[in-house]
Amino acid sequence: MEYITTIDGKEFQVEIIDKEHVSVNGKIVEVDFESVRSQPIFSLIVDGESYEAYVYEGEDNLEVLIKGRLYNSQVEDERERRLRAAAGSSKAISGTFYLKAPMPGLVVSVLVEEGQEVKEGDVLLILESMKMQNELKSPQDGVVGRIQVSGGDSVEQRQKMLSVE
């Protein structure tokens, strides 16, 4: 099975040959890969070298944490890549960003109003959790859509709080 894997913007051709062999950009390496105790933490021995990584699943990416360094990765097989190429950069089209609570907490205050224009990096909302106030910022320029929470509200993890269109 062949994949195109992008790590921090760099592409790798990775082929899973069999349970013990993988080719990376044409170079075959011996691998021994196991999840530790069925946890999302993985032990990889590759040509004798021992690595361990946490893997976090994003919406369409995987974050791989190795030795304190985080690698943003995207893995696609050929079919997926073709589909994406055909669809064009889908992200630019459906440009709505939903601000979801990254953790359970208390909304301290909403700093924007519906219809307000915001720039990438503007603070949208302050959420308190674990005795810390956290500023949640807009990842894009746009206009604030519907605001579904207000100061004093408790929110659950991943609850939608507002959108930027």
């Binding site: 790590i7 899973i16 974050e63 791989v64 030795k67 985080l70 359970p104 959790s129 956290n134």
Partner: protein, 502 residues
């Protein structure tokens, strides 16, 4: 003399105090919120009583209920730990009034040091240098402060007199920013502390945050246990501390120690306490505030001096004289503490909640962990994000750093994100290795990506792992589809599920 202690706290510090009691043959009473029923402090204590629901205001801040439990259980003393009720003079007074021993200083010392303006005044009178700023304990109006500000000079800090944890604090670069900064600082102070009084302090640039640990008994004996270096902070929260400070000289240590002892004597201090100072580039030091309680970072002092600070607190509260004289206190080697917080250093230190499904602690020579969590613990949004303290000792600073590196590399926590990668990056930074950092370093100059630049990367390893994970997911979901096609086997899955869920 009391033989049972109620610990009015949770998490690692409750466990730390429990351990000291146990090793002194003293019984322990834990209190807990519903969120902490299975916490270690409840599991390890001799007795345990429910306070109330998870929010602190309904549980760990309920002073009256805690005193009631102490009386009911026959505890003779209350140890407040840090945070919660630890620096609440009214609570300390109520404990005393109930005929119980408060393991800490007198309500007078707590309240004197709790009002930052009063503390500054006392220190000045005792001959302790303070950070230049407004003097006296008057309530200054905005007008007065606008007049005083240029005399102090910019940049400066507006600080709430009742302050703590950076609340009601504003940095001001020029007179133009003053009015709105005053307004917002007062607003924040009012909502945090119920009063809006503020004062001004010069903002010292390039300064280090260095604190001196004090021990004082009921007989007026006061000693200090040397310094801790606490400059590595983010949003006024310490992240990493070390002892001794790489910036310290023997002469400065002696001067600061003497002054700290003087300061403690000035308020008739008793128990353990800390004098926090700023030290500028020219080794001038200024009193910042006194923490009238046990500090989070006390273990690094324990490791280099051999003194068990919590046991000493308990002995002092039991009316014993200090068993140590100043000349008994020596510094042996070096110690570092990394605060392990459930927060994501790759995403602006966002707190992370969840269930710890797998954990491996670093152990072995020279490593100490103080923690209240274990594999299986739920990290909730109700309390602060510190899940453990990783503390190492080494023969010297270099060895301590090497040991901390190996301990951080061994530490595994699955289920929440932690700031371990932050500490790993710090242990690799030239500035930290050289000991060349100040209180602004983490926020203004420390950049995880930048420091890692040029260091060994593992892009190819990441590519292999990501691909294998994705590949296994694909295989598995294909398998599930095939499985679902076989209706007849569902009963097998059911019985398997029932076995699993037993």
């Amino acid at each position: 003399m009391f033989t049972k202690v109620l610990i009015a706290n949770r998490g690692e510090i409750a466990v730390r105090i429990l351990r000291a009691c146990r090793e002194l043959g003293i019984k322990t009473v834990a209190v807990y919120s519903t969120a902490d029923r299975q916490a270690l402090h409840v599991r390890y204590a001799t007795e345990a009583y429910l306070l109330g629901p998870a929010p602190s205001s309904e549980s760990y801040l309920k002073g009256d209920k805690i005193i009631e439990i102490a009386l009911k259980s026959g505890a003779g003393a209350i140890h407040p730990g840090y945070g919660f009720l630890a620096e609440n003079a009214a609570f300390a007074q109520e404990v005393e009034d109930a005929g119980l021993e408060f393991i800490g200083p007198s309500p007078f010392a707590i309240s004197s040091m709790g009002d930052k303006a009063i503390a500054r005044k006392i220190m000045l009178e005792a001959g302790v240098p303070v950070v230049p700023g407004t003097k006296g304990t008057d309530r200054f109006s905005d007008e007065e402060l606008l007049k005083l500000a240029p005399e102090i000079g910019f940049p400066l800090l507006i600080k709430a007199t009742a302050g703590g944890g950076g609340k009601g604090m504003r940095e001001v670069k020029s007179i133009e920013e003053m009015p709105s900064a005053l307004n917002s600082a007062r607003g924040e102070a009012m909502s945090a502390f119920g009063e809006d009084n503020v004062y001004l302090e010069k903002l010292l640039l390039g300064a280090r945050h260095i604190e001196i640990q004090i021990l004082a008994d009921k007989f007026g004996n006061v000693i200090h246990l040397n310094e801790r270096e606490c400059s590595l902070q983010r949003r006024h929260q310490k992240l990493l501390e070390e002892a001794p400070s790489p910036a310290m000289t023997e002469e400065l240590r002696e001067r600061m120690g003497e002054v700290a002892v003087q300061a403690a004597k000035a308020v008739g201090y008793e128990s353990a306490g800390t004098i926090e100072c700023l030290v500028d580039k020219d080794k001038n030091f200024y009193f910042l505030e006194m923490n009238t309680r046990l500090q989070v970072e006390h273990p690094i002092t324990e490791l280099v001096t051999g003194v068990d600070i919590v046991m000493e607190q308990i002995r002092i509260a039991r009316g014993r004289q200090l068993s140590l004289a100043q000349e008994d206190i020596k510094i042996n080697g070096a110690a570092i503490e990394c605060r392990i917080n459930a927060e994501d250093p790759h995403n602006n230190f966002m707190p992370s909640t969840g269930h710890i499904s797998h954990a491996v602690l670093p152990t072995g020579p020279g490593v100490r962990i103080d923690t209240g969590v274990y594999s299986g613990t739920e990290i909730t949004p109700y309390y602060d994000s510190m899940i453990s303290k990783l503390i190492v000792w080494g023969e010297n600073r270099a060895q301590a750093i090497l040991r901390m590196r190996r301990a951080l590399a061994e530490y595994r926590v699955v289920g929440v994100r932690t700031n371990i990668p932050f500490h790993q990056t710090m242990m690799d930074s030239h500035r930290f290795l050289g000991g060349r950092y100040d209180t602004r370093f983490v926020e203004e100059e420390f950049d995880m990506e930048e420091i890692s630049e040029g260091k060994e990367t593992h892009l190819d390893i990441a590519a292999i792992i990501a691909t294998l994970v994705k590949h296994e997911q694909t295989e598995r979901s294909a398998h599930v589809v095939r499985r679902n096609a076989r209706d007849t086997s569902n009963w097998k899955w059911l019985s398997r599920w029932e076995r699993l869920s037993k």
